[in-house]
């Protein structure tokens, strides 16, 4: 039904038309064009977006800038945000979205929240109704700022074209500095169509925002002293190391003081998998060694990680014997979950180098060798069965490891969430930094496909391997269309068990095998892949796996490998939620 328009709305549209008339000799440009110039000035060349009523002027301007700004048209705005995340995580650049108001904006919420939890720099530009209509429940109007304030570093509404240059530069400065995170810029329609004299304004100072604090030399000295005295030091490495480009500083630090390290899920690939001091992953499904040793070490050195409950388990029994040194750039993380003996507030690249200068070369041969017992136990009880089973259906872990090896352990791993994720990060191996893209803090199913799109565009020269489950695949399945349109050679592997596997695992262990809401009836994924022009093959037999992986990696284009794995597979080791980190279930 045609809505009766008020005079105000009619005037609004009339003024929009007037604004778009070009006046000869006038150097003023539209707000939309100013937005694109500001993005280009920030080094943007790729935008993930989806148009709609209140963003049409921006997309119209994009048409003129299509040589400089590549628009990746996603199939749903959630996909746009996850793609921006994947892009940012592998490239270190800021991921950018342009979406419309109302549902366009609300569809980005999950990705924004995910980026906030995982400290990913993204700038989300949302269209908004003309400022005269704000607050009136206009068509597709939603309070984007109010909704996104709790899940962004900064959210700002632009109502005048004159503010665009400043707001965009400020958005990129905030998103990419300090502890990175998402920024939302809500752009009212009249700011998009109004004319402005565009002048680039670089924002690199905000008096109320200190992204990198000055190093406290006294704390550095105290930290070094504690490390020098340590007999059994253990380092916990988080994504902060990757975000501050401190991988080399970390290696020098660890080697000088001879400190073994455990990695958080997001910290993975900050050190190569085969690096001798890398003792594996921490947490609920992490490696036995670093988890147990957390409760045996005398000094615990946390670097750019936040003691998430999936890492610590029960805080009352967590590392009580150790003195904790916490390196972090975010002061509100220090002391949030654990009691810290020495806070080292700052950028890990600077603070690690500063501490390294004060520490004495040391050797902790016996302590480091003591990890071998745990490694051996985990190998016998878990890894061997998962990677080299002699019979029975395909195991998730063996598929992951075979793919990793076939890429010479040099691919980018993207995962969805659930068993596929834990198997992926446990058994994939890494040579280079920024090789893992996974949804850690928020644990967003459906993250995988769009994140892989972003990862492939952010690292076009690298092989991107996406592992997902049959559940998560169907949450953002529509992005197959984006992959097809962009001709992205992503190598996708669905570990298909016809279950929501991780929930099923919990139901088996803790809910008397009552499989409520976890049994899936699935389509033929291979046929689906063919509909999108992808290469595909379905494997069930161990003998065919190697050949299928080879075919996938050699295939010129997108490929979906459907691995029908055991239906009741379990991810072990497992520390039950809220249990002590030494209470490890091996699944014997």
């Amino acid at each position: 039904m045609q809505k009766n328009k008020t005079d105000k709305e009619n005037n609004e549209e009339l003024s929009i038309v007037n604004c778009q008339l070009s006046i000869p000799g006038n150097t003023r440009i539209s707000g939309s064009e100013a937005l694109l110039k500001a993005l280009i000035a920030e080094g943007v060349d790729t935008i993930f977006g989806y148009p709609g009523g209140q963003a049409i002027p921006i997309f119209d301007s994009l048409y003129d800038y299509r040589d400089q700004l590549k628009l990746v048209l996603v199939r749903h705005e959630q996909g746009a945000t996850h793609a921006a995340q994947g892009y940012a995580r592998v490239s270190g650049k800021v991921g950018v979205n342009i979406v419309t108001s109302g549902p366009g904006a609300t569809n980005t919420i999950t990705g924004i929240a995910d980026a906030m939890m995982d400290s990913t720099p993204v700038v989300i530009i949302t269209g908004q109704v003309p400022s005269s209509l704000l607050g009136t429940d206009a068509f597709q109007e939603i309070d984007v700022i109010g909704i996104t304030q709790p899940i962004t570093k900064w959210a700002y509404q632009v109502r005048k074209p004159e503010e665009i240059a400043w707001a965009i530069s400020r958005a990129f400065y905030i998103a990419s500095t300090g502890r990175p995170g998402p920024v939302v810029i809500d752009l009212a329609k009249d700011a998009q169509v109004g004319l402005v004299d565009y002048i680039y304004e670089k924002v690199d100072y905000i008096r109320s925002y200190q992204p990198v604090p000055d190093i406290d030399k006294e704390q550095i000295r105290i930290a070094a002293e504690l490390i020098n005295k340590a007999k059994k030091p253990l380092a916990l490495i988080g994504q902060g190391v990757i975000l501050s480009h401190a991988e080399e500083e970390l290696k020098i630090f660890l080697e000088k003081a001879d400190i073994p390290a455990g990695m958080t899920a997001l910290g993975l690939s900050a050190l190569p998998s085969d690096y001798p001091l890398n003792k594996g992953m921490l947490g609920m499904h992490g490696n036995v060694g670093p988890n147990r040793k957390t409760n045996e070490c005398d000094v615990l050195i946390a670097i750019g990680m936040r003691f998430d409950d999936r890492v610590t388990g029960n805080l009352d029994t967590y590392a009580k014997q150790a003195q904790i040194i916490h390196f972090d750039i975010d002061n509100s993380e220090i002391g949030k979950n654990v009691k810290v003996a020495v806070p080292v507030w700052g950028d890990a690249k600077e603070t690690l180098a500063a501490v390294t200068a004060y520490i004495q070369p040391a050797k902790h041969k016996q302590w480091i060798a003591s990890f071998e017992t745990d490694e051996q136990e985990e190998y016998t009880k878990v890894i061997q069965k998962e990677l080299t089973p002699l019979s029975g259906p395909l195991k998730m872990g063996e598929v992951v490891r075979k793919v990793s090896e076939a890429t010479q352990n040099d691919a980018v791993l993207v995962t969805d969430v659930g068993q596929n994720q834990m198997m992926g990060i446990r058994y994939f191996k890494y040579k280079r930094t920024r090789s893992v893209v996974t949804s850690g803090g928020l644990g967003t199913m459906g993250f995988g496909i769009p994140a892989a799109i972003g990862a492939q565009l952010g690292a076009p020269e690298r092989t991107v391997c996406l592992f997902m489950g049959d559940g998560g695949l169907q949450m953002t399945l529509q992005e197959f269309g984006t992959i097809m349109q962009e001709k992205l050679p992503i190598k996708m592997i669905v570990l298909n068990n016809n279950f929501l596997g991780m929930v099923r695992q919990w139901q088996e262990l803790f809910f008397k095998e009552r499989y409520s809401g976890t049994i899936l009836m699935n389509p033929d994924f291979g046929t689906l892949a063919k509909a999108y022009g992808m290469g595909s093959r379905t494997v069930e037999k161990r003998e065919e796996l190697g050949d299928a992986i080879k075919e996938m990696l050699e295939y010129d284009g997108t490929y979906l490998l459907v691995a029908n794995v055991e239906s009741h597979g379990m991810v072990y080791p497992m520390i039950p939620a809220g249990a002590c980190i030494t209470h490890i279930i091996m699944g014997e």
Binding site: Q149, D204, Y205, R207, S208, Y209, D330, N331, S332, G335
Partner: protein, 182 residues
């Protein structure tokens, strides 16, 4: 840990939506805001929030760090009553009729240091400033004798006793940094 009343003092840029950003941090930690007062500060363009809440110190510390981290917040810190000079203001609307018939009006005014703001044939409006207990004591006495038609108390305002001026220190550090970088 024991809960006690803390006063959180926050200085911010004068931008839209900051109150929302602050209150959601209290909400996430299930903290009730007891009183809230917002006004421009002595420094142009800087706003000051004074918030009181019952919490334990560990919680207070975490909440204030999370507030301080927000981009447009200049400085946030917390104090207990011992560190502060604080004040609230209260207004009391009474019936003129009953007020005039009340015994010991002069004593009441002297005892509570009350100001009379308005008086007409129907109503009297009294004003009292002081700590919560003081304004509450007057309210109690009036309501038990002649009754109170309307009562309103402001949020707490407070200034620190300490010599340290955290906001000015922070601003001068930031300005120095800007100069060094340019």
């Amino acid at each position: 840990m024991d809960k006690k009343l803390y006063t959180v003092i926050i200085f911010s840029e004068n931008t839209v939506g900051l109150l929302n950003q602050i209150t959601i941090i209290f909400t996430r930690r299930q903290l009730n805001i007891e009183t809230l007062s917002v006004s421009p500060s002595a420094i142009k363009g800087v706003h000051k929030f004074t918030i009181t809440t019952f919490a334990d110190e560990d919680m207070m510390d975490k909440v204030v760090k999370q507030i301080d981290k927000r981009v447009d917040i200049l400085k946030a810190y917390y104090n207990t009553d011992e560190d502060l000079i604080h004040q609230e203001i209260a207004l009391y609307k009474l019936s003129t009729d009953l007020f005039l018939k009340m015994k010991g009006v002069e004593d009441l005014i002297r005892k509570y240091n009350v100001r009379v703001l308005d008086i007409n044939e129907d109503i009297v409006v009294l004003e009292k400033s002081g700590h919560y207990a003081e304004t509450q004591a007057l309210f109690k006495e009036l309501s038990e004798t002649i009754g109170v038609l309307q009562f309103i108390r402001s949020g707490r305002i407070a200034i620190t006793k300490s010599k340290v001026e955290r906001l000015s220190d922070m601003l001068s550090t930031m300005e120095k940094k800007l100069m060094e970088n340019n």
